[in-house]
């Protein structure tokens, strides 16, 4: 037995290495390729900020989804919640017709609180009643989409009706760094602390790893399902809100759909990074970065759009293979 323990890992070390660092290696390789391809454009500081700016919204949404998946809950309502955040922030500000910072702060906080409340309803329905989270959140996304369409009548809130104090969130810069990037970095930092360094996060991982064992350790699934879904919905709404502020519009549709799928892609790429088989904040950040680099790099190289889809799909499959290689090894 002792010989097996020491000798076996050496044999499959390179597989383990690839499954841990495969996504980071492909990220570096892509950056090198794009930098060689367009040396005057791609590796510039300006473009790096540009990439971060472009992934910030996806990143914020995917980070919230990471928390849900840590607890083992699929949240398909994040797309609708992103639209919700973007539309209602713009709509409330239009109704209030005030350019004061306080009004903007008030509206942002209320919209996020509303979103988290919806997330808590999701959490309550799935955990207390035991409804499948996939179906429940899908149903909730229909309801939210319906409410938005009903309230908006399908009409977009235009930038002239949205105060600059709000648009700054999407367009402003602090120390030369775009505001969305700062919000993304803040979200990464807060959720990283939350998941890795607090009892809240540890208990969430416990539930996701073995719900029954967690219950027998005195951890309430219901309570953490509520918290996780609230964070997921809140992040989604925050992402949609930044998207709205960035473009200066409140769109009642067409905001969340793409982010929904890409967020899942990013989180699953992340779950095969550094800690294979585990959803975690830094992995998600790498996944989001990978998507951003692919899209930006290929478009600066002038590669047709369909290639972006193909490359992104290929990377995801490779990530899933490396993750499954790891789980096969463990079994």
């Amino acid at each position: 037995m002792s010989t097996t323990e020491t000798a076996a890992p050496r044999r499959i070390d390179w597989l383990g290495f690839l499954s841990r660092y495969g996504t980071i290696i492909s990220l570096v390789v892509l950056i090198v390729i794009f930098s060689l391809g367009r040396p005057e454009v791609f590796p510039s500081v300006r473009n790096m900020f540009n990439i971060l700016n472009q992934i910030s919204i996806l990143g914020i949404i995917a980070l919230g989804l990471t928390v849900c998946l840590v607890v083992g809950l699929f949240d398909l309502s994040i797309g609708a919640m992103a639209t919700f955040g973007g539309y209602f922030a713009a709509r409330f500000l239009m109704e209030m017709d005030s350019d004061s910072v306080w009004a903007v702060a008030f509206v942002i906080l209320s919209v996020l609180a509303l979103a988290m409340l919806i997330g808590m309803i999701n959490g309550a329905l799935t955990s207390y009643l035991g409804i499948s989270p996939i179906v429940e959140t899908l149903a909730m996304s229909f309801i939210v989409t319906g409410v938005i369409l009903g309230v908006s009548g399908g009409r977009t809130v235009n930038s002239s009706d949205i105060p600059m104090a709000f648009q700054v969130i999407g367009q402003g810069r602090i120390w030369g760094i775009p505001a969305p990037v700062l919000i993304l970095i803040g979200t990464v930092f807060v959720l990283w602390l939350f998941l890795e360094h607090t009892q809240w996060g540890r208990n969430m991982y416990a539930i996701g790893g073995n719900r029954e064992a967690a219950r027998l350790s005195g951890i309430s699934f219901q309570k953490y399902a509520l918290i996780a879904m609230a964070i997921g919905a809140g992040c989604a709404a925050l992402g949609g809100l930044v998207a709205g502020a960035n473009l200066g519009v409140g769109r009642p549709q067409g905001v969340g759909e793409t982010y929904l799928l890409n967020a899942f892609v990013a989180v699953f790429i992340g779950a095969s990074t550094l800690k294979p088989g585990r959803f975690h904040v830094l992995g998600t950040a790498v996944g989001v970065l990978l998507i951003g680099v692919i899209n930006n790099g290929l478009s600066t190289m002038g590669v047709a759009t369909f290639w972006q889809y193909i490359v992104q799909g290929t990377i995801l499959i490779l990530a899933l293979i490396s993750a499954s290689v790891n789980s096969v090894r463990r079994a």
């Binding site: 097996t4 323990e5 219950r215 350790s217």
Partner: protein, 520 residues
Amino acid sequence: MEPARVNAISMQATTETAPVLEVRGMRKEFPGTLALDDVTLTVARGEIHALLGENGAGKSTLIKCICGAYAPTAGEVAVEGRLVSFSTPKGASDAGIAVVHQHYNLVPNITVAENLWLGETLPRRFGLIDWRRVHERARAVLDRLGIAVSTRAEISSLRPDEAAMISIAKAVSSDARIIILDEPTNALLPHEVERLFSRMRALAEQGHSFLYVSHRLAEVFEIADTATVLRDGRNAGTFTRRDMDRRAVVEAIVGRKDALAGRRSSSSARSETLMQVTNLTGVRARDVSFDLRAGEILGIAGLPGSGADEVMDLLFARNRRQAGRIAIDGREVALRDPAAAIRAGLALVPQDRLAEAVFHAESIRANISMPSLKRYLRDPFLRFINRGAEARAAGEVAGRMRVRMPGIETHIDALSGGNQQKVVLGRWLSTGARIFLLNSPTAAVDVGAKAEIYNLIHELAADGVGILFASTELDEYPLVCDRVLVFSGGRVVGALAGERLTGGNIMTLAAGGKLGDEHN
């Protein structure tokens, strides 16, 4: 399956004298490790041959080499005197080797007849499946083995011993010369094991041969004609029925003289009552009342369904109790959910370690500290964890539990079953638990680790902790417990202690019988 049967009978006549299965010089290397080294094994016709050894001794590697799942590095396998060589399980079954795994390789939601025919072409009539013939022939197979199960029953509706027999029947009907049974009794109740064994004996008398892999020594002594012991990938002894002495076999398995302590030598039970349970009632358990004293190890024994297996889950509030009161230190406690039970000083080690206790893909540190995290928080609001304090405390626990590990940050999945169990037990040392509910803490743990776990349990009791103990192996109760409550039909039917505490007496009471010397 019919034409194959005719062949089989004619061939049996020609190869009467050669051993049914002969393994010679089997060697299997994995990169960096030698799993099997010159292993020899011979199974005679009509023999039930036990293959014994600790986890990691090479039993499953050997079986995988025999049945074609692994390619051996060196060595040969002969079936009825003819060398066979194959690289797939299909090749092995064609050569007459059938393996019945723990879960009996049956498809649960289809009928017995369909399972018996699985993998073969069903008879057809007018292009449609001729179900009448399917069932007729399945019936014939079952009748030949004396199995009284409807061919139309779904596997999932059968008792585990019936499922095991169907699986064996499938092997017999596919013309297997040797049937390898890999831990077939894990899911069986004692009386079901008894039924399975009587069928196996009947089949052996008809000339069928079995290679029987098991952890359960008592069963091996009961059923096996011959036993081969493996240790560290080598032959460590072969015993025939005549020289099969329990102590000698255990020594061959473990390679140490002091593997099994005898009876629990001295009780550490104190006088004060720790927990008082009155009229506890659940789905099966009825009006269960008992006292647990500090330092006492109280066994809860009974056949599955007797209510014994429900008591711990009721106490820990896993299942809702319908009636009953629980008092700790004389004060009644509500215990509405597991969290409340933990706060009241209870600790549970559930039966299914992998499904209910281990946090997979987490470190040993995280697995130990999970129920006691609040001790290592830097603040009560944001609840930041003081990692240093957590790691130190977890390290102390792992040391005290004698967990063999590369380090406290190692993933728990990398540990052996016994060491995982020590981690699961150890996590309750930091919660201030004073009442431990241990449900089969030695299940799927090798012999060496079992002895260690017994010692840990005794040490806990010596510290004044009260312990409820349950096991699927009745022989464990006298080794571990001071006193045992035996359940039957949902009620406590007897309490055994001292000389009267034996596996046999527990079995007698649990099966609804009376003890001969019982007068009170």
